[in-house]
């Protein structure tokens, strides 16, 4: 009975091409990411650093969430936990309501390859490979043929405005261009979630805003969920929600309506820290 009902709702929503179970999963929860009680302690020469002290976080499908906080507040640590790149000491991370601690290496690799697109503060492009080859890499890991991957990668690079730099190596590109390659690479396998750890940290204001604009477009055009860390209040323009992390704890959550937005950037974002 319940099955039938879900099926009906699915049809009513005009959501075709998805199976009942997938549909059911989605209907059960609109949360694409759910983190519960995350803690992480690093030990450095006998000294304990509490990077996360119990962080709870839920992110809805298609939401753009900015995680803000001063340097050392635990943004990267949280980012790594959510992305399945590192394990929390305690607490759980659910993606599509699956506890990622329960995934084996094959399942985890699928998650990293298809479900999540990562953008790193330091770009992390492969230095010897061209822009095109860098973007192709996750597609090849997913089993796509060289020819198909090449076409698709060129397509994505065109979208981020790099159609003239396909064959350039990272060191032949500016910082902003490198980060755009990284954005393109994050999009390689049409991820549902983009995790961006200070994507603008190494860029000047103007190039940074360009990257934020691209992320905002992904959200609005493709319904991608974006989780982005930053310590710069000028980079909050596209956010639906801003979460302030201080010393490993969430100290403030602000909805878009509560933010003063002017000319595409957020003025007076500094008071977030008050």
């Amino acid at each position: 009975m319940a099955e039938e009902q879900k099926q009906n709702t699915a049809v009513a929503n005009g959501d075709q091409g998805k199976t009942d179970e997938e549909q059911a999963k989605e209907l059960l929860s609109s949360h694409v990411v759910r983190a519960v009680g995350l803690t992480k302690v690093y030990e450095m020469g006998g000294e304990k650093v509490h990077a996360l002290r119990g962080v709870d976080l839920t992110v809805d499908r298609g939401e753009y969430v900015s995680i803000m906080g001063p340097s050392g507040s635990g943004k990267s640590t949280l980012f790594n936990m959510i992305g399945g790149l590192d394990k929390p000491d305690t607490g759980e991370v659910f993606i599509d309501e699956v506890d990622i601690a329960s995934l084996d290496t094959f399942e985890l690799a699928w998650l990293r390859c298809h479900k999540i697109g990562y953008i790193f503060q330091t770009f992390n492009l492969i230095p010897v490979a061209s822009a095109l080859e860098n973007v192709m890499m996750p597609m090849l890991f997913a089993g796509m043929s060289q020819a198909d991957a090449q076409d698709k990668a060129a397509d994505i690079l065109r979208k981020v405005g790099l159609e003239k730099r396909l064959l350039n190596k990272p060191n032949e590109l500016s910082g902003g261009q490198q980060q755009r390659v990284a954005c393109a690479r994050a999009l390689a396998n049409d991820p549902a979630i983009i995790l961006a750890d200070e994507p603008t940290g190494n860029l000047d204001l103007k190039t940074g805003e360009e990257i934020i604009r691209i992320l905002g477009e992904l959200k609005s055009e493709f319904g991608v969920t974006v989780i982005s860390a930053t310590h710069d209040h000028k980079m909050l323009a596209a956010s639906d929600r801003v979460i302030v992390l201080t010393d490993g704890q969430i100290t403030k959550i602000k909805k878009r309506s509560e933010l003063k937005i002017q000319e595409g950037t957020i003025e007076g974002g500094q008071d977030l820290f008050d």
Binding site: N13, G14, D15, Q16, G17, K18, T19, D20, E21, E22, K25, E26, R61, G62, N80, G83, L85, D86, K87, I95, D96, V98, L103, D104, T105, F106, E107, A109, W110, L111, R112, C113, H114, K115, Y118, N124, L125, I126, P127, V128, A129, E133, M137, P138, L140, F141, A142, G143, Q146, R185, A188, N189, D190, P191, A192, E221, F222, G223, V224
Partner: protein, 237 residues
């Protein structure tokens, strides 16, 4: 919006199973490995030249000794005498020099061993960050190990082949200078060359070169593949 969201595959498939990354086929990995080698040609040449040097040294020492020994054993007695008088076999007749040759072969082996392992270790560890990035992008641990296995295998074959050729060339040139094309009236040098021995030296050198190269890449590659992605990305060399 709803239509576009359909692109996003759920973590769970239609039967309720969590989706799994598939192993790539041998051909796909081969292509990737080949690309990796060609794309870092300059760098691989540097590492490969280390292998070439080590193998050239090893092959030269072993085959030069084998040729000299064979000429001494197989030359007609009369020829042997004249050669002996001219001091050509001093190395083989003098007990001290004999021991010295043994040491040289041992040393050559050691140089190859340490040189190749070191070169491969360096070339893999400087790629730790890259390995970490690859893992973040969905590469299976086994894919990383397979890539390193293939890359080092190609590199080992190429470096070892060139090294052996150079070593043989040196050994033959040396004997030619020592004895000339004809060792004595009617006794050509090439007739005294221990071809079977030379072939087994080639075989041994090939095996040692490739095995050392692969072993030198595989161990650090395997360790890096097992690391957590964040750790590998952090790793500084």
């Amino acid at each position: 919006m709803a239509t576009q969201r359909q692109n996003h595959t759920s973590l769970v498939d239609r039967s309720g199973q969590v989706r799994r990354q598939r192993q790539l086929t041998g051909k796909q990995v081969l292509l990737m490995a080949w690309k990796n080698i060609t794309v870092r040609m300059g760098r691989s040449m540097l590492v490969t030249s280390g292998i070439v040097l080590a193998l050239a040294f090893l092959t030269y020492i072993m085959s030069s000794d084998a040729i000299l020994r064979s000429v001494l054993e197989n030359a007609p007695p009369s020829v042997k005498e004249t050669l002996s008088e001219s001091g050509k076999f001093a190395v083989l007749e003098d007990a001290d020099a004999q021991i010295q040759t043994r040491w040289m072969v041992g040393l050559a082996l050691l140089v190859s061993f340490v040189g190749i392992l070191n070169a491969m270790l360096l070339s893999v560890t400087e790629r730790y960050a890259e390995i970490g990035t690859m893992k973040c992008l969905g590469a299976l641990d086994s894919l990383i190990v397979r890539l390193f296995l293939l890359e080092s295998f190609f590199q080992g074959i190429a470096g070892t082949t060139v090294g052996i050729l150079i070593g043989l060339l040196l050994a033959f040139t040396e004997s030619l200078f020592g004895f000339g094309w004809t060792v004595a009236e009617g006794v050509p040098l090439m007739g005294l060359v221990p071809w079977n021995g030379i072939f087994s030296i080639i075989g041994i050198a090939m095996l040692a070169g490739v095995a050392l190269t692969v072993a030198g890449a595989l161990y650090p590659g395997w360790r890096a593949a097992k690391m957590k992605p964040v750790e590998a990305m952090r790793a500084q060399v």
